[in-house]
Amino acid sequence: MIMPEPDADVIARRDEIVLALRDIVPGEGVIAEQNELSAYESDGLSAYRQRPMVVVLPETTAQVSDILKYCHANGIKVVPRGAGTGLSGGALPLADGVTLGLGKFNQIKEIDFSNRCVVAQPGVTNLGISDAVAHEGFYYAPDPSSQIACSIGGNVAENSGGVHCLKYGLTTNNVLGVEIVMMDGEIIRLGGRHLEAGGYDLLGVVTGSEGLLGVITEVTVRILQKPATARALLLGFGSSEQAGDCVGGIIDHGIIPGGLEMMDKHAIHATEDFVHAGYPLDVAALLIVELDGPQVEVDLLIDQVEHIASGCGATYSRASTTEDERLTFWAGRKNAFPAVGRISPDYICMDGTIPRSQLSYVLRRLSQMSAEYGLRCANVFHAGDGNLHPLILFDANVADELERAEAFGAEILKLCVAVGGVLTGEHGVGVEKRDLMGEMFSEDDMKQQQRLKCAFDPDQLLNPGKVYPTLHRCAELGKMHVHNGELPFPDLPRF
């Protein structure tokens, strides 16, 4: 992974920079000791590591603004960081950069049931928001599997997903407003407690911008009334084709389940050995279908889905009858990653999305690739929205296995794009998929996206080296290539 060349001048001024930051954030808010800095070397994508030049942990928006103003004035790069649970290296530090951690922004500022929203500081955990409103029967819908630890600010930066996206949307569909600080220190509010932010939907582009456009210092999210009932159905099939047909059949029937997950044989066995969720071991593919809503609707739809499944050749079917049982069904799926961690010294988790009709073909190709690379691969799949998570198992202590695993992973993502899908469904591009962006986007596509970056951060000091494989100077991106003007287009219809 090649990162932008560190600026030796900036590194040489490190002591002076630490002092300046201490002026802004007094006390223990500036971390400069080498052994303490090591805790910030990576985020959830631990294959990539870099010790930051310095870490600063501000407590107020004014401090964030002052830090950014100072860094802007002095040409110092800044890497924003939430809880550090991201899976694509979006918070990977820079050797010549300040890592700006939002961990101390951990207060819920307001719970507003009248407007069905919560105003929170960015360091509040995803689950912390749901917990704060549970007493009135509300929750925050997007539920990434790291929801105990991941922060809402990080969720907005990454546009995080979860298992309930098909019905309830990603983060972007559940955020009403943000306060961001731009690289020059200016504080801007986008959206609020109303729907539709008005004017250009800058809230929509800041969400999922992976820390490249601004530092999020406050988030307003929509909360929903918890469904009255939820039941889950386990469905086993002799082939992944049949399971895929069943997913299509459910949607064709007009049913949008709250959750619709698929696991392949490897994933079923790994999780069953780990959590004993009661999964059938003699099936090739397992679906977990969760129906939520009023009791009468859930019971009705469970019957309908069972009927559709048996028409698709399901060999196993079991509906949860108690809340404990439902949670047990989910326990396997939710622990799929650690379960795989038990059967392999290391694994990497990929995150492509494909059109669901391509599932059988993609799974067939995956098992061929698995043989070619000599590495095992287990698949968990948000089947409803086509988001595939192949887990590639390897041993970093065996020479070249990491390289092979990465090459296997890259080939999977290329396959996703080739069949009409995308590189990442919910984990983000970060550094992990940065160099694959060209598989999906042309040079012009990426330049247009980077011009948007220039509107927010013309000196490209905020999280450089992430998302886009080539750093272009904004002046160069802004140059116009105007063709000289006689209309050479005789074919163009005019009226």
Partner: protein, 411 residues
């Protein structure tokens, strides 16, 4: 008058924008012209007619995804979807009703590109999101005369900046879309609406809040004052002789019946109840969606649409109606206010909104008002500066619909 350019494919579209850019000729980009009187009145002579870039390119009902050329008429998309019992869940507003006096129907005027560029969602916005939430990807020509794409053709995608959001509501000022991909959803099997009669506005807002905050999965909540309800084409609404507060539930039959019964219990303490079933329910919500109650009001009545925090809705509307003879219709549980008022009193509207109260859009007005009053809410100075930089990142010479969204970009 210069001849209108009417490209028939993406290459010709690129040529057209390239030509305009090389001559610095601003373009008035339009599809079927159904919203030509929406937004700032600007005089751009050179037209770019997108209606020939038309046709559905792919539609896979079980993938819930549809791709079409941007100039495809909306009714064509709506009828393709309804063949598979699917729809655009955000209930696109048919602005032709209020702008051009069209009767509300299931077939909207305009093109899919125009729908995205304007970005107006109907009553189900509170449950299923807005236009912005259903645009998955697009191809477009920027004001730099470059073809680019963003997003994808799948439901879940976080690859790169989400420029699709930026296109929604941009009024064609950033890029000319040539192809769009949208998310579609199954049409609910059944729809029922509970009506509460005779509530004044603060009580109506409280009733809607109780309904929307309940676990009964309300998909729409609106309030019509008596004078507005009287103009409904639905007999039970028009004939009530009182203000009408309406709450809708949708879904499988048995579920709708159960939830409807629960809502009746919840709302009974507020006032007299009635119920609208399937056809009447659909007709009523189409009226609310398109604000058709003012379809035939005199041209010196201005129509506004305000997006506000629901808890502030009654207060804001009262501040305006108190000052002049305005009529207010509430949708989105109080978060959306449609206003009709004499055009001489337009200054009252934005003055009633505090900074954190959302925004007001001037939907219909006489030409003299449209040339003097910004149609879209003026952003704060810092947001305006950022918006100008964003505009310039896509269209540095301001050749695409200059001034249509913000007067300042018509330099």
């Amino acid at each position: 008058m210069p001849q209108t350019l009417r490209p028939e494919n993406e290459d010709q579209l690129l040529d057209a924008v390239n030509w305009a850019l090389s001559r610095k000729i601003p373009l008035n980009v339009f599809g079927l012209g159904s919203k030509s009187s929406l937004g700032q009145a600007v005089s751009v002579e050179q037209g770019l007619d997108m209606s020939a870039l038309s046709g559905i390119l792919s539609y896979e009902p079980s993938e819930l995804v549809l791709t079409a050329k941007a100039g495809t008429p909306l009714h064509e998309i709506q009828s393709a979807l309804s063949e598979h019992n699917q729809s655009m869940a955000f209930e696109p507003v048919d602005l032709s009703v209020i702008l051009n006096g069209k009767e509300p129907s299931n077939e909207a005027d305009g093109t899919v590109g125009g729908m995205i560029a304007a970005g107006f969602a109907g009553p189900r916005r509170i449950r299923q999101g807005g236009v912005r939430d259903h645009v998955l990807g697009f191809r477009a020509i920027s004001g730099r005369a470059e073809l680019f794409k963003s997003g994808g053709k799948v439901m879940k995608n976080v690859t790169g900046f989400d420029l699709s959001k930026l296109m929604a509501g941009s009024m064609g000022t950033l890029a000319v879309m040539s192809e769009v991909t949208i998310k579609v959803l199954p049409v609910p099997e059944k729809s029922r609406t509970v009506l509460v009669q005779g509530l004044d506005e603060p009580v109506a807002i409280a009733a809607m809040r109780a309904a929307v905050n309940s676990p009964h999965e309300v998909s729409a909540a609106a309030h019509l004052p008596q004078s507005v309800a009287a103009r409904s084409g639905v007999d039970l609404v028009a004939g009530s002789g009182a203000a009408v507060t309406a709450v809708r539930v949708e879904g499988p039959g048995a579920s709708v019946e159960t939830r409807c019964a629960s809502l009746r219990k919840l709302l009974a303490p507020f006032g007299e109840l009635e119920e609208l079933h399937s056809q009447r329910s659909a007709r009523f919500w189409a009226e609310v969606r398109d604000a058709s109650f003012w379809r035939t009001t005199p041209p010196d009545t201005t129509i506004w649409r305000l997006s506000v925090p629901p808890s502030r809705g009654a207060h804001i509307a009262a501040a305006i109606t108190r000052e002049c003879g305005a009529e207010a219709l509430f949708d989105w549980g109080g978060g959306l206010i449609w206003l009709a008022l004499p055009d001489s009193r337009h200054k009252i509207v934005r003055a009633a909104l505090d900074e954190q109260d959302g925004h007001a859009t001037l939907i219909r007005a006489s030409d003299s008002i449209r040339t003097t009053v910004p149609a879209f809410h003026p952003p704060s100075p810092s947001l305006a500066a950022l918006s100008r930089r964003v505009k310039s990142a896509f269209d540095p010479h301001g050749i695409l619909n200059p001034g249509r969204l913000y007067p300042t970009d018509a330099a």
